[in-house]
């Protein structure tokens, strides 16, 4: 089993298991069964880091960015509810 998982990730098989790894540095991030996002480097920023028109989101959402733990490649950016 081998297939892409977005732009910088892929799923591959090894030793009877399926894994998610970074295509840029080959760092193995997680087993496929796990939620790979939980194994990423996670940083949150004010919404306005995505642009000046995001002001309305301040206090409600934060910009969450996920990075490869191996090379720091940006994997995902999303506004998530502020906890």
């Amino acid at each position: 089993m081998s297939h892409p998982l977005g732009d910088s990730l892929e799923v591959y098989s090894d030793q009877g298991a399926n894994w998610v790894r970074c295509t840029r540095c080959s760092h193995v991030i997680a087993r496929l069964e796990e939620h790979w996002r939980k194994r990423c480097e996670r940083r949150t920023f004010p919404p306005t880091k995505a642009g000046p028109l995001m002001t309305i989101l301040v206090g409600h959402y934060v910009l969450q960015k996920l990075y490869c733990p191996g090379c720091g490649a940006l994997l995902e950016s999303d506004m998530v509810e502020q906890s």
Partner: protein, 608 residues
């Protein structure tokens, strides 16, 4: 061999000819329609169906209505039975609890006979200018049940054996605020269905019923077979997405897509219960929006027909926002939860395509839609206009793709009239309508920029007009980014009261800067409001989400965006890490490399 009973050349020729009929139906609607909604905004659909209501050839706009009009055909068959359906009859149905999505979208349905045998149906919808709801135009934010949302017709003969039933026609039009315009809308639908009937009957005459029936059957089989093959090639998996709509509190829509083998299961379990606000969607509407998402992502190059529906299953618990139970209000459903469902379905499909080497190049960052507005009131000629759809959602920026930017103000199915046309017909003065700087979601490929506009009253005899605010209310509307791309700026609708706009105009100054226009800003939820003298309505529609890391965008592309005003110099530096020098905005490559390195290092260190 996919095509079992028909030679491939005949299949191609007749398949395209059937789809061409739907295009001609659309052109007929545009040329004979009674309102700008049909003639310029193209808020319509026109499709052909098999005798049992299965989709034979879908028109090019509004996939969700294709499914619902097919449902309407089935309801007419149930209500009247074949023995009461005669050649040259035409039916009308707009009941959302049977087949339609909301009352103003009126379906006109025409049985098509060949030698007195029912061989198919044509169907159209247009959004009529008024439907007698508590709010002009139909979308009624204050309705708490469907009885406040206008005329609801479960199926009636509008034309019987070729003769217009004047009693029915007058009864319907007289229950609206603008009988003439609604009458013209209904007649343009009759005209489009007459075109469809003439063209399909000519094909039956030319090729005979045996070949025609085989063609329509084979078209569906062909689409289904290829679509199932495509789905099978993609790895199995589960993907999910959520959207919150703000309607007197957060209303959460949740979708999980399970892909197993050649089957797609769209499961909305977890979606909030229906609310006493017209954002609820009938189940067939939910199916329709999922159909549209599959059609436009995996089947856009195939004959558009019932074959798209067959690999799909939709699960939507009863009593939720995506499967409303009687008598829940639904009048704002199409542009709120409907577009919400469309976004959810597109998002999970894009996540699914991202797992396929073959299909991931087809990804488009999904779009969670926008706010919109309608006005009603007396215009500069003293005539009451119940329905001025601003339709600016047609100017949304599109999502970025794997290898290119989203289209600026690319919109979706609809079009929008030019500013001068709107000002000629309605008591409005536009202060500006332009691409919003820094609205597009940043990315290696950025989203398309959406449009912002501001308008005020001009020559309004009553000194005010009404407004209704609808669309997808909430902070996460607009485009969503993918794989590191940022989301597009939220779509907002703001009523600025007691502004300086009139003073600026009086002083021969163009009020194009919001800070100069001033006023007290009111962000509009789902509501009715009044636009009065010295008020300005500011609208910003959705912008596309970006694709990939903004720090990997070609600096020359960023420079180009700065020169055209789509990106500010500050955003170029802070978001894209591109340093531009001088009036010509030349890219400083060394400084750009250093800036990008600094941004990433600071990000990974986290906020200080």
């Amino acid at each position: 061999m996919l095509i079992r009973n028909v030679d491939p050349i005949t299949f191609e020729v007749l398949s395209h000819r059937l789809h061409q009929i739907t295009r001609e139906m659309g052109i007929t609607l545009e040329r004979t329609g009674g309102t700008v909604t049909t003639t310029q905004q193209h808020d319509y659909n026109a499709s052909l169906y098999r005798p049992d209501g299965e989709i034979m050839a879908a028109g090019e706009t509004y996939g969700h209505h294709v499914v619902c009009a097919g449902q309407a055909v089935k309801r007419i068959l149930e209500r009247f039975g074949k023995e009461e359906i005669y050649p040259d009859d035409i039916f009308l149905l707009n009941d959302p609890y049977l087949a339609a999505i909301h009352n103003p979208d009126v379906y006109i349905i025409c049985p098509i006979h060949h030698e007195n045998v029912l061989v198919g149906w044509s169907a159209t919808f247009v959004h009529v200018s008024d439907i007698g709801a508590m709010t002009p135009g139909g979308d009624s934010p204050e309705a708490t049940e469907i009885f406040q949302e206008g005329i609801r017709i479960p199926g009636i003969k509008l034309v019987e054996r070729g003769k217009l039933r004047r009693d029915v026609f007058d009864t319907i039009t007289h229950m609206t605020r603008q009988p003439e315009a609604v009458g013209l809308d209904l007649k343009c639908e009759i005209a489009a269905n007459n075109v469809a009937k003439a063209r399909l009957q000519a094909m039956y005459e030319q090729y005979g019923p045996e070949l025609m029936n085989a063609i329509s059957s084979e078209m569906i089989q062909y689409t289904e077979t290829i679509l199932r093959n495509r789905i099978r090639e993609i790895p199995d998996g589960v993907w999910s997405e959520r959207l919150t709509i703000e309607a007197d509190g957060p209303c959460k829509l949740t979708l999980t897509l399970r892909k197993e083998g050649e089957q797609l299961v769209f499961d909305f379990t977890g979606t909030d219960k229906q609310v006493r606000k017209g954002i609820n969607l009938p189940f067939h509407g939910t199916c329709g929006f999922c159909f549209g998402a599959v059609l436009y992502s995996l089947a856009y190059d195939l004959p558009k027909n019932h074959g798209v529906l067959r690999p799909m299953e939709v699960i939507a618990p009863k009593g939720t926002i995506v499967h409303v139970q009687y008598p829940g209000p639904i009048s704002m459903s199409t542009t709120s939860s409907g577009f919400g469902v469309g976004f959810l379905a597109s998002s999970v499909l894009m996540q699914m395509l991202a797992t396929s080497e073959k299909w991931r190049h087809e990804i488009v960052a999904p779009q969670a839609s926008h706010r919109n507005c309608r006005h009603s009131g007396v215009n500069q000629y003293g005539r009451y206009c119940p329905f001025i759809n601003m339709a600016h959602g047609a100017l949304d920026g599109n999502g970025a793709r794997v290898d290119r930017d989203g289209v600026d103000s690319g919109g979706s199915y609809m079009s929008v009239p030019n500013v001068e046309w709107m000002e000629l017909h309605y008591p409005l003065l536009y202060l500006f309508r332009r691409h919003a700087t820094d609205s597009a979601g940043a990315g290696k490929f950025r989203g398309g920029a959406g449009v912002e506009s501001a308008h005020m009253l001009h020559d309004a005899p009553e000194g005010k007009i009404r407004g209704v605010a609808y669309g997808v209310a909430g902070l996460r509307n607009s485009g969503h980014g993918m794989f590191g791309g940022n989301p597009g700026a939220p779509s907002v609708m703001v009523l600025l009261q007691n502004t300086n706009a009139n003073s600026l105009v009086g002083a021969n100054k163009s009020p194009v800067d919001l800070s100069e226009i001033g006023g007290e800003p009111n962000f509009l939820p789902y509501c009715n409001f009044e636009l009065k003298q010295n008020d300005v309505l500011y609208m910003r529609v959705a912008s596309g989400g970006g694709y990939g890391d903004p720090l990997e965008r070609d600096p020359e592309r960023v420079r180009g965006d700065v020169l055209t005003g789509l990106v500010s110099k500050a955003a170029a530096r802070e978001i894209y890490g591109v340093v531009l020098n001088g009036e010509g905005c030349q890219v400083d490559l060394a400084a750009t490399q250093a800036q990008r390195k600094k941004i990433r290092e600071e990000e990974l260190r986290g906020p200080q």
